[in-house]
């Protein structure tokens, strides 16, 4: 069934179709309509789930962790400062190997207080052991929630499904809402190997000496390394059943491109429009949209950009005192490769400043005018 829905509700429908059993959320700003619709679904029994209204985002994640360790499929959603408040609990979820799935609306961190998009909230959590999917359309948001549960439960690693504030969260698009029966066939019920139960009581997350802690972290990383192949496998399975492939990256006209724009989130689709325009003007541009940031798709990035003459990474985020974070990671993926084009790092669109096709035109003009980057960061659109 096709419906016109906003990005927030695409998350809600995804969580509903995945048959989430426990949803815990703090209902005040920076929360969005994601959990509002889910609470209505719980109230009118469209969704057979326990909705726990808590007093903070820290408690929301704590409740998800408790429910998940007891064997329930759990979902929550948050944004910016709310995600930051969850920080401690994010480690508990991944360290405890609990496949919680969370929607994060990319909103800029305050102060100054902002409800507009940039990626510093989720990228500040990149090292917490969560998988991160950056979506570019409402359809992709809904589909990814369902896939994320499957991948997370298989690997026992939690997932964040991330979308841009307003550009997706409050933008209405046509979304194909799959049949429940087909989703059930794709995503079987959550059956953890061990869980918290009075029948066989164990303690979870207790004191772990240096003799064992190291190995637990090794195992988490080893399982994270299995994720790229599993995401592609489950993505192909999804394509067979629903007609839409869900991969790690999306490349657009990269094969013969002289210059490749590396993007993420909705800027990725804006970049396609810019690429089309530039191609008409005789510039061979392409776009590589990185969808999955954790685990990082090293092989795909290397393979796709290696034949380009130049690469321009566009970050809607910044690691203060360093670079944009996608720029850092693309460069690290290319380090030591036989062939690697010069990589230019651009920062644009912080705090919800629009990124438009002309932004990309400017980025391409700058990149083509120089042999290699002359500045650590090239700022686009700063009033100075």
């Amino acid at each position: 069934m096709k419906k016109v829905i906003m990005g927030n509700h695409a998350l809600s429908y995804g969580a509903m179709l995945a048959r989430s059993q426990v949803i815990a959320a703090y209902p005040i700003t920076p929360q969005t309509q994601v959990v509002e619709l889910l609470s209505e679904m719980c109230a009118d029994k469209t969704l057979d789930a326990k909705f726990i209204k808590v007093e903070s985002e820290h408690s929301a994640m704590a409740a998800c962790i408790g429910a998940s360790v007891a064997g329930a499929r759990t979902f929550t959603a948050t944004s910016s400062q709310g995600l930051a408040l969850m920080h401690e609990m994010l480690h508990w979820a991944s360290g405890g190997r609990l496949p919680v799935v969370m929607g994060d609306i990319n909103r800029s961190m305050g102060p100054g207080w902002s409800i507009w998009t940039d990626q510093n909230d989720s990228l500040s959590e990149r090292d917490t052991g969560w998988m991160q999917y950056y979506c570019a359309s409402n359809q992709e948001v809904l589909d990814t929630v369902i896939q994320a549960f499957k991948v997370s439960e298989r690997l026992a690693i939690p997932s964040m499904v991330i979308l841009d504030a307003f550009a997706l969260s409050h933008t209405y698009e046509v979304v194909d809402i799959p049949d429940q029966a087909k989703v059930d066939a794709y995503l079987p019920p959550f059956r953890p190997q061990v869980r918290l139960t009075p029948d066989d009581p164990h303690a979870f997350g207790g004191l772990t000496s240096p003799e064992h802690y190291f190995e637990l972290r090794y195992k988490l990383q080893k399982d994270m390394e299995k994720a790229p192949a599993l995401i592609e496998e489950t993505g192909r399975e999804y394509e067979k059943m629903f007609g839409r492939y869900l991969g790690l990256v999306e490349d657009y006209l990269c094969e013969d491109a002289d210059i490749i724009l590396v993007t993420s989130g909705t800027a990725g689709y804006t970049a396609r429009v810019a690429v089309d325009e530039m191609r008409k003007g005789g510039i061979k541009a392409g776009n590589l949209r990185i969808k999955v940031f954790r685990p990082f798709p090293f092989e795909h990035v290397r393979r796709i950009v290696k034949n380009a003459k130049k690469v321009a990474v566009v970050d809607r985020n910044i690691s203060y005192g360093h670079h944009g974070m996608f720029f850092q990671e693309v460069k690290s993926a290319l380090y030591g490769q036989d062939k690697s084009p010069p990589v230019f790092g651009f920062i644009a669109g912080l705090g919800g400043r629009d990124i438009t096709p002309s932004t990309f035109k400017e980025i391409v003009d700058i990149t083509l005018s120089k042999d290699k980057p002359e500045e650590e960061i090239i700022w686009i659109g700063v009033k100075r």
Partner: protein
């Protein structure tokens, strides 16, 4: 009453033998954490109003209800005192443990 098993040191030769998540391998039926307690809750049942608030608030499920009155499971109670703090009838006293 379950007797305490003899404790054995568990040594893993490789990460492959270890569980994926940090968890106790032995059952908590044997690992009685009540030994951590310094002060113990003592319920004065004469003044108890059977509200069940102590049962609800106990973070370790160490209060059980029998014939509508609360009793403490001292095998697991760690003596946090939340029950005594929350009791509206003030009928739970925290008494120092003597070793």
């Amino acid at each position: 009453m379950i007797r305490k098993k003899e404790a054995k040191k568990i040594v893993f030769q490789s990460e492959k033998e270890m569980p994926m998540m940090p968890m106790s391998l032995g059952s908590m039926l044997y690992n009685k954490t009540g030994a951590w307690r310094n002060i113990r809750p003592v319920v004065d049942l004469e003044n108890c109003i059977q509200c069940g608030i102590c049962w609800k608030f106990c973070p370790d499920m160490s209060i059980f209800i029998e014939n509508e009155f609360p009793y403490v499971n001292y095998d697991y109670c760690k003596g946090c005192g939340i029950c005594a703090e929350e009791c509206p009838a003030k009928c739970i006293a925290m008494v120092e443990e003597e070793k």
